[in-house]
Subunit: 285 residues, 2 copies
C-alpha cells in the first residue's frame, strides 16, 4: 500500500492505492494552515496502515531538487502560513524511513494523464490548467521537467489579440499569459465570470488566441506530442477545437506533428488527475 497527497490551493486530497495509479480510497477536505492540513492527511493515512511510500503533488513554488536539503520546502506564496513550510520534513517526521516523493500538482497531473489519461503512452506531454492562474506540468522524454526550480508557464509573454488593450491582472507582469487569460483576467476584462460567457462570445476567440500562442511556445521549445488543457476556464463547449484551429493557423504548416485534431485535448481524468499522479510518482519520481 502506498499513499498519495495532493495539496491544492483550495482543497487537499489524500488517498491510498498502488504505485500503478490504482486508487483504493480517497478523502477530500479544505486546505487550511500547513500544520492542520498535513495532520489531517497523516491521521487519515495512519488509520489505513503504514504506507510503503508517499507521493505528493503540491501547489508551488516548491523546491523539487531531491539532492538539496531544502527539498520539498515552499517558497514565497500568497497562501497564508505556507511560505517556508517543508512538506518533506513534516512527512519524514510523520513517516520515518518511508520514501517521500514531492512534485508540483501540475507535474503530477501531467504524469497521470500520460500514464492513464488523455496522453496515454506518450513521453512528451504538457498539461496546462487555466483557473485562478495558468500553470503547466511537463513530461519531456518520459521525465518530468524541473529545471532550476520548475516551469512557471503562465508568466511568458505573448503578442496581443488585435484591439485588446486590457492591462492584465498579474501582480508581477500585468499582461503576461496569466495576466491576460486566467479566470480573474477574464472576469476583470468582461465583468463576468468565464463560466457565464456563452460559446461564441468574443471572449473565447481572444482566449483561444492567447492559449494558442502559449502552445506555440511549447511546440517551439519542448515539441510535445500532446497538450492537455484542463481547469475551470477550459470547460466551455468547443474550447479545445478552437485553440487547436488557432494553433494550426499560427503554425502555418510548420509544426506538422501538431496538426492532428488530437494534439490539443481536454484531460480525461478530470478531478482525479492530481491524486492519481501523486500515487504514480512513487514509481517514477
Amino acid at each position: 500500500m502506498i499513499a498519495g497527497i495532493e495539496f491544492g490551493g483550495t482543497k487537499t486530497v489524500v488517498a491510498i492505492g498502488h504505485a500503478d495509479g490504482r486508487l483504493v480510497e480517497e478523502f477530500r477536505y479544505l486546505t487550511t494552515n500547513p500544520d492542520d492540513t498535513l495532520r489531517t492527511a497523516v491521521e487519515w493515512i495512519r488509520l489505513r496502515g503504514n504506507p510503503e511510500a508517499v507521493g505528493v503533488g503540491a501547489f508551488g513554488p516548491i523546491i523539487l531538487a531531491q539532492d538539496k536539503p531544502e527539498y520539498g520546502r515552499m517558497l514565497a506564496t500568497p497562501k497564508p502560513g505556507w511560505e517556508g513550510f517543508s512538506l518533506s520534513a513534516a512527512l519524514r517526521d510523520a513517516f520515518p524511513d518511508v520514501r517521500i516523493v514531492i512534485e508540483t500538482d501540475v507535474n503530477a497531473a501531467a504524469l497521470a494523464e500520460s500514464r492513464c489519461g488523455a496522453a496515454l503512452g506518450l513521453d512528451d506531454v504538457v498539461y496546462i490548467t487555466i483557473g485562478t492562474g495558468i500553470g503547466a506540468g511537463m513530461l519531456s522524454g518520459g521525465r518530468l521537467v524541473h529545471g532550476a526550480l520548475h516551469p512557471e508557464f503562465g508568466h511568458l509573454k505573448v503578442p496581443r489579440f488585435s484591439g485588446d488593450d486590457f492591462a492584465g491582472v498579474c501582480p508581477f507582469h500585468g499582461a503576461c499569459l496569466e495576466g491576460l487569460a486566467s479566470g480573474p483576467a477574464i472576469a476583470a476584462r468582461w465583468g463576468a465570470e468565464a463560466s457565464t460567457l456563452p460559446p461564441g462570445h468574443k471572449a473565447w476567440e481572444m482566449q483561444a488566441w492567447y492559449l494558442a500562442h502559449g502552445v506555440l511556445a511549447l511546440a517551439a521549445i519542448l515539441a510535445p506530442s500532446r497538450v492537455v488543457i484542463g481547469g475551470g476556464v477550459s470547460q466551455v463547449e468547443s474550447f479545445h477545437a478552437l485553440v487547436g484551429s488557432t494553433f494550426r493557423k499560427l503554425s502555418a504548416g510548420y509544426f506538422t506533428y501538431g496538426e492532428g485534431v488530437d494534439f490539443i485535448m481536454p484531460p480525461s481524468l478530470g478531478q482525479q488527475a492530481g491524486i492519481l499522479g501523486a500515487l504514480l510518482l512513487v514509481a517514477c519520481g
Copy 2:
C-alpha cells in the same frame, strides 16, 4: 578512438578524438551535396583508423528517435539534395557494426557548452544561435530535449517592440522570433548587415527585446539555469549584458534564478562547440 562529424549548412567538420570531448585532429570543408559531403568525412576518418563509434551533429529538420527506422533521415530542407537523405543509413554502410549517434547541431553545441564550456556542470541549459536563422539546443535534467521531432525555437511568437512594424522575413510566419531577429531580418529592416551596426544603434535595443522575450519563454517552460547565446548576430559588444538586463526587467523579480549576471552568457567554445558536442554524444546519446 571515436569520430565526430558536424554537418552545417555551410561547412562540415570531421574530427577524431575521445568520448570525453578531447579532440585529437579535425578537418573543415564546405558542405556540398550529401553523397560527396559524407564521402569526404568517411575517407578522412578511415585514413586515421576504424572508429569505435561516430557522433554526429547535423542541421535539421532530422529524425532523432533512435527506435524509428527513419532515425537520422533529413526532412524538408531548402538545402539542395538533402531532403530525405539518411545520415544513419549512409554511416552504417560506411562503418558497419559501429555505433552511430545522431543529434541536431544545436543540441550537440548545448551538450558541449554544458560539459566543457560556458555552462560547465549544469544540467538545465539552453544554447541559442542567432545567424541565418534562430535555433536552440536544450538540455533538461541532463538530457537533450527531442520531443516529437526537435525544438524549432526560432518559430515562437513574441510581443512587438514598441513601434516596430517590420513584416518579418520568415517564409512560414513572417514575424516570428526568427522572422524579426535573425541576421536576414536585421539586414532587411535596417538595410545593413548586423556586423556593421555599431553598439548603441537602436537595432540592438530591439534585438535584445526580442531575444529577452524568447528567453522569458524558455524560463517559463524549461527553467534553465543558464542560457548561452552564440552565432554571428550575438557578437556585438555588450550584447549579452543587454539581453540580460532586458530579461530581468521583463521578469520583474519573478524568475529569480535568472537574476544573476551569469544567467545569459556567450559561448566559451566558439566554433568548436558543434564538433566537441559530436564527440561527447557518443557517451550520452
